[in-house]
Every structure is written in C-alpha cells, then in structure tokens.
Symmetry: C2
Subunit: 298 residues, 2 copies
C-alpha cells in the first residue's frame, strides 16, 4: 500500500455478533484494504471499525459494508446510549500517506454520492467536506437523532447533500466527510491542582485563543495525585505535537509547575513523531522518503 486512507465508519449495531461479522466482512481478505481494529459496545449499541486502504479498494469495501448494514440494522428498533441518526451513522475518511486532504474529500464525496444512489440514503457531508460551515460539526447534523430526522430533513436548511430529502425508513441518515488524523495527546504536570491544568488547557487550545488545531481540558489523574492537560490534536500537520508540548512548558512556568511527561493514547501516524524528532534534532532537508518503512510500503 503506497497511498493510504484511513476510514473509521460507525455502525449502529453493538449487540448482535452475527450482524457485526456480516458488516465487517467486506473489510477482510481484500487486496489494498486492511482491517486494523473494530470495537463494539453493547450499551452504546454501536460498532466502530478502523480500516485502512488504497482509495479505490477502500471505497468499494466501504460501499459494500454500507449496503450490508442497511439490510441488517433497523433503526426503528434501535436503542443505545450513544447519539445516532442512522444505521451507518458516520463515515470519516482520513488521509494518512501520499494522499492530500483534497483527495480525501474527493473520496468522501464519491462514497456519499454512490451510497445515496445505490441505497436511497440521504447523506450530509461534514467536517472538511462540509458544504456549509454549519455542517462541519457532526453533533449539529445529528441533533434530533434518528427519530427527529423525519421532521428535520423537511427544513430547507437541512436538505441533504446527496440522496432523498427524507430519511431512509429503517436506516435513517448518514454523515460522510474527510477529516485529518486525530492524535489524543496528554501532558502531565507535577501538581494536583486541576485549576492550573484547566488554565493551561485554556491557554493552549484553539477555543480560547490557543493553537488552531488543539482542543483541551484539564483532568485529574487521581491515582497518581497529579493533573494533566488532556488534548485532541485535530491536525498535527499544522499544529505539531512539539509546539503544544513546548507551549505547555512555558505556560506551566508561571505557576511554578513542571511538565513531568506526556502520553499518546491509541494510534498515531508515524509522521506526527518524525516531525517532532526532526524539530528537536534540527535536521535539515529531511524527507519522509528517508524512512526505511516508507520505502517498504511503496
């Protein structure tokens, strides 16, 4: 795999293992597609699949999985703790390697158009793919959930980007869009003051004047008696990990507090850390093609 897109489709089925296996099946044993992970939650009654692939084979596999999910899931009988508006609730496409943001948006649009046409599914484009700033935020699109969509879609403001202007009777509505890889990154402080962690979070996060692609809050690590600035880095290619790390060190100084470490939760693309190493070592003219693994994946 040389050009790699990640896709993390969320399906509204977290209980029936037979149905879950059927939905996942299109992501298995295909050239150019690799299933990395899937997790289901019975309380949420939701399935989250993590898959990567070359754009074309990935597109085909996702469209197959949508078709199966629509057949298997009946939203009129669905209950669960997680907000949801459709059998295929949301399908984000994330550029990972040799794929631009524009190309991920193009892929999302192709999947949205084909799914609307093949399955009569109304589809909203969201995040980077949004046709309107009011549609970037998934929570806004999903407000009202499956049950509320029948009224919501009648409003001109909520005309879907693709497909009919009425929800699929049993599969509801789906959001499809491109977003950048999200890195869950936390920085630990040698204090137990949650207030200090929250103040620092406010200083570094975008919402309150900080870095453009950083969301953050303070949280307590009770068992360790310390606090941390817990963040989602929503585009590390533009807001680098080292930048927020150094900024937190600077902000912590004013409280006489030190940074004692950090943590990365879950997966992240190699580039996020290579970028950081290249910064600290001051490496000149570095190319990702110098990474042996990049060459192997070509």
């Amino acid at each position: 795999m040389n050009r790699i897109v990640q896709c993390v489709p969320n399906f509204s089925e977290g209980r029936d293992l037979d149905k879950i296996e059927k939905i996942i099946d299109p992501f298995r044993g295909k050239e150019g597609v690799k299933l990395l992970d899937y997790s289901r939650d019975a309380d949420h009654n939701r399935l989250v699949v993590t898959v990567v692939g070359e754009p074309e084979p990935l597109k085909k596999a996702v469209l197959q999985a949508i078709g199966i999910a629509i057949k298997e899931i009946d939203m009129t009988k669905h209950q669960g703790q997680h907000p949801r508006m459709g059998a295929v609730d949301v399908i984000p496409f994330i550029p990972i390697r040799n794929v631009t943001e524009e190309e991920a948006k193009e892929l999302a649009a192709q999947v949205a158009e084909a799914a609307a046409e093949q399955y009569g599914l109304p589809i909203f484009l969201y995040e980077k793919s949004a046709s309107d700033p009011g549609r970037e935020n998934l929570a806004k699109i999903r407000k009202g959930q499956f049950e509320g969509m029948f009224e919501k879609l009648k409003e001109e403001e909520w005309k879907p980007d693709f497909g009919p202007q009425t929800p699929h009777p049993t599969a509801g509505v789906t959001a499809v869009g491109a977003r950048m890889p999200l890195v869950a990154y936390n920085v630990n402080l040698d204090t137990n003051s949650l207030e200090i962690a929250n103040r620092i979070a406010k200083n570094v996060r975008h919402l309150s004047g900080g870095l453009r692609y950083c969301k953050g809050i303070g949280i307590e690590l009770e068992d360790r008696g310390i606090v941390q600035v817990s963040m989602n880095m929503t585009d590390f290619t533009k807001t680098a990990l080292y930048r927020v790390f150094e900024l937190i060190k600077i902000e912590a100084k004013r409280y006489g507090v030190n940074v004692v470490g950090s943590e990365v939760i879950g997966l992240l693309p190699m580039e996020a850390l290579i970028d950081t190493a290249v910064y600290y070592l001051g490496i000149e003219d570095f190319s990702m093609e110098q990474i042996l693994e990049s060459r192997i994946m070509e």
Copy 2:
C-alpha cells in the same frame, strides 16, 4: 511484511549491465522480498544492492543471487578501486522490524552454510556473527584482497567458518554476517574550525572514550563556511541519536560554539526517530505498535 530483515549484498561487478540485471533479478517480483535500491560504480567495479524481506524468502533470493554472481563474475579478471575478495564480496543482514539481533545472526549463518555447500564458497562470518573478535572487522578479513586469499587461507588463523579452506577459483571468498542498522548522522557547528569539530568528534566517539556505538570525524563544509561532526551510528537502539546530539551540544559549549542543525544521510529505520521524539516529549509507556504504519505492515 511483518518481520523484516534488510540485506545489502555487495557484488564485484559495476560495469556490465547485463550481468548486473541477472544478479538483481532474484530480488524482483517475489512475495515477501522487496528491492529498495541498487547502485553500481564503474570505477569501483562494484554493485551494492539494498533489499528487504521476510527472513525465509529473503534467504532464498540471496542464495539465488549468489549463484548467479558466481557464474557471471570472474575475479581473476576483475579490476576496480574498491577493495574486494570475492565475486560476492560481503553480505550483511540487518534486523529492521520484529527480528532480533540473534535471529539476524541465525539467518546469516544459514545463508553462509548453504552458500558454502551449494557453491563451494569459503565463507567468513563477520561483525555480530564473527566466531572470533579478530573477524569482526571486514577490513581485516579482506586484507590481501582476492589475489592474496590463496595464501591467506592456508594459515590456520584464517580457516573459513564454512566451506573449503581454499578460495573458489573464480569467485574467491565471501563474508556474511549480521550487523545493526547504520545511521549516517552529522551535526553542524557554527564555526569554521575543523580542529573544534575533530575535538568534539573525539569526545563523543567510541574509539576515544565516547559513546559505544558512535564513530565520528570532523569535516569541513566549505561552501557553507562551517564544520560538522560526521558520524556513523552503528547501533541506534543502544546509542540513541538524541544522546549524541545532546552530548555534542554540551561539548560545543566549551568552545563557545553552537550546534546549528543536523542531517541524516540516506535511509534510516523509523524507530531511530520515534525513539528521539519519545525522549524529547517525555512520552510514557509508548509502544511502536501505536504507530499506524506499524499496524499496517503487520
């Protein structure tokens, strides 16, 4: 490819393109083997191939290439600027991913034994595979070159590890061994004093009291009017890049000199830089399995 070994065989043919293509052919189009690069030099009359693969398919491909090289190359007629002792001069095996040093040594021993048996080739194990400290250094084994091997192998001290105690009449002698990935890493200083670069190189390199897996010299970058400490890091898993970088900064201080950047020449494994990022960010409990690309390669 999940378990990856790199192999960089050196063949004594840098001029005849037909022969070169024949020698490279076993590394093309094979499941579990990927040819990354090859470069030939007519003056050196030498071919350097860079290939990666899973241990078993790589072993088979290397043995095939050895057989072809022995048939195609006649060392009695070979001339070139680079020292050489055989048609297949040297075959290093380098553990890259999910392969231990021990397993790379085992692979080297298997190839050495099979090549000796199949082709009647005397073989010395060198570097990490050496049966004796006096055989670690390739230059010592190769001393006397092809022409001198006929006398050298008569000495009890230079009995080959595998194969006959006399050179192959037209293919000479081959060295096979495991070594760690070598990273060519240079650190630039804001001075034009070669003496300072050399003093710092002496302080950080193993030979004169520095870090165990670091070789280094000072060199001038004439076009930029600065100097650099030019290094070969011979095992970055034990002597990390950030460690030598920080040590050079500390040493440079005593001369009132600053480090102004660094450079990596050629390829390096992702782990060498991930390790560095994890150090500078103080990331706790990081696993290489958190790298998306690691998961994709599984």
